[in-house]
Symmetry: C2
């Protein structure tokens, strides 16, 4: 069934990608309305669907919408999601606002599509979580998961468009012998890395790191999995990479795991080290599938351990693509009701 | 005692840093001779000791030298170390050639200075190993070490001067909209990362990754420690970073560990997350001490686990500084004999 669809935060990095992905995946759109801050309202945005006028998100009337993608951060979703759902519009929220609410499903469609149930408000996971979740899910399903250790290599795009522009501009400054400045990031990012993303919590982990812990458990539906993560910003534009080591409940047959991941939805296996084929931002950028490779037996946990490297586009599987995939589940639900 | 000192491979990145460090640390030099490939022989090199003529390393006569720093890779040390030691010259070799020989000490002076004994040939560890070794040593000594997991963020300098030049030049190309090329690295490095350093071994780990395993055990003197590592090249100039998680034999008192590391030789504690103070290439570059921070309780191993982040200059503690520190031990040994 075709849906009256809105994108709230349409001028941001993620909002724009949502529009592109809606177009590229032939999402069943009845009509598309775009919303952004008051500053942008009245302007038009060039999209694959044509030029569309931007409306003020604060004044959005949801009675004319069946599906709304929220791609606005901070406090905005808290104040606005209820207006939408009260009007009968289903909301897919890209922020972390509702992700930890017990009655809000947190969905990666390849993993827990059934979780959407009848929910009118569905949360899209954190980018780092979404990119790691698919391989973790397959390992969990087939071999069980006891422990997950993640070290990330996160791109600038996770901090928005200004962050990408800052990386580009300040890299130019650094190359030209001027001091690289910073405004979006805590420190200059060119030729540097920053082992902090989001604010520190009392346990000395950042909120970004704890999101990975909380969200992975919620998506896999198992709070008994021990997870630990360090999130590091690196001077890369828009693909996140993650070094992951897991300890399983059952012995892992590496050949079987590779076979499973090779056929898994949403995965591109790049695991031929002898041919220098492994995941990289260079190849993962712009791709829907998450790249997985460097799959190897743990040197610590033996048969019960496997380590690997993943790389995924932060704006696609890490944000817009996953949101649109959830939208496709919502559209199918509308279709079933209509039938 | 002042030593007749030679630097073999004096025109390379590491060779030049050795000369600088010898000068900055007031190394007891009687005379300094510099050697490089035939191509450079006869030219002169500007150094803090003045302008020095470069001699052909292949024809080096070692009878006039008491101490030789080898900073030439591949097969050269194998063919030449014996000539030096036969002539009574002590060799500190920066390559991996002899590191795994049972009768060749592998030394990080803050950890196992006594290992040099009477050896005429002493190996300098791999850069990634040297940078991680000091915190690991203190944890090992005070709490015991069962398991060590490392994910690295390694700078271009580890692949030599051409690699740094390539990163700079190709970053310019990328920013100017031209395709970034590559020659030193397997793929373009600007705004990318490459999860491969050195060649893959039959176990699907690279040689660089296995060096960290073998060398850390040898330096700490305990083959029972389980170690696993993934080595990743990132678009950073000359400081390596490492995300490290360890499991200990005894419960770790985090305050005590921080206190110990805060007073440890060769360490700069940068561990005030609430003030955004943590290790970074930006601050670690050019520094002798290795930066340690993000020290936190493991979310998996509880009292028996601690995770942290280290960052060290690849050319200093990762290479030249450690070699000169070994040289200082050799000079002291000469001094004792002379006494």
């Amino acid at each position: 069934m075709k849906l009256k669809t809105g994108v709230l935060g349409a001028t941001g990095l993620v909002g724009r990608e949502i529009i592109n992905v809606l177009y590229n995946r032939h999402f069943p759109i009845e009509s598309l309305r775009l919303y952004a801050s008051e500053r942008s309202a009245g302007k038009t945005l060039e999209t694959p669907f044509g030029r569309i006028e931007i409306e003020n998100a604060d004044n959005a009337g949801y009675s004319g919408l069946e599906l709304a993608f929220f791609a606005i951060g901070h406090d905005w979703p808290k104040a606005n999601a209820g207006k939408a759902t009260d009007a009968g519009c289903t909301v897919i929220d890209n922020s972390s606002t509702f992700r930890y609410d017990a009655d809000v499903p947190l969905v990666v469609p390849e993993i827990n599509p059934e979780a959407i149930g009848d929910a009118k408000l569905i949360a899209n996971p954190n980018c780092t979580t979404a990119i790691a979740a698919i391989p973790l899910w397959h390992i969990y399903k087939h071999f069980g998961l006891r422990e997950v250790r993640i070290s990330t290599y996160q791109a600038a795009s996770g901090a928005g468009r200004e962050a990408m522009e800052e990386l580009e501009e300040e890299t130019r400054n650094a190359l030209d012998g001027r001091e690289a400045g910073h405004n979006v990031f805590q420190y200059p990012l060119p030729f540097n890395l920053i082992p902090q993303i989001d604010a520190f919590q009392p346990n000395e982990y950042t909120r970004e790191e704890m999101k990975v812990v909380w969200e992975t458990r919620k998506i896999l539906g198992d709070d008994a999995i021990s997870i630990e993560c360090i999130c590091v910003r690196v001077p890369i534009m828009r693909a996140h990479s993650e070094s992951i080591s897991v300890k399983t409940r059952e012995p892992v047959d590496l050949e079987r795991l590779t076979e499973i991941l090779g056929h898994a939805e949403g995965v591109e296996l790049r695991d031929k080290p002898e041919q220098n084929i492994y995941p990289m931002p260079l190849t993962a950028t712009g791709k829907y599938n998450v790249e997985i490779g460097r799959i190897r037996r743990s040197l610590i946990d033996g048969d019960y351990g496997v380590s690997f490297f993943v790389c995924g586009d932060q704006l696609l599987k890490g944000a817009a693509l996953n949101a649109v995939q959830i939208g496709e589940l919502v559209a199918a639900r509308y279709g079933q009701r209509g039938a």
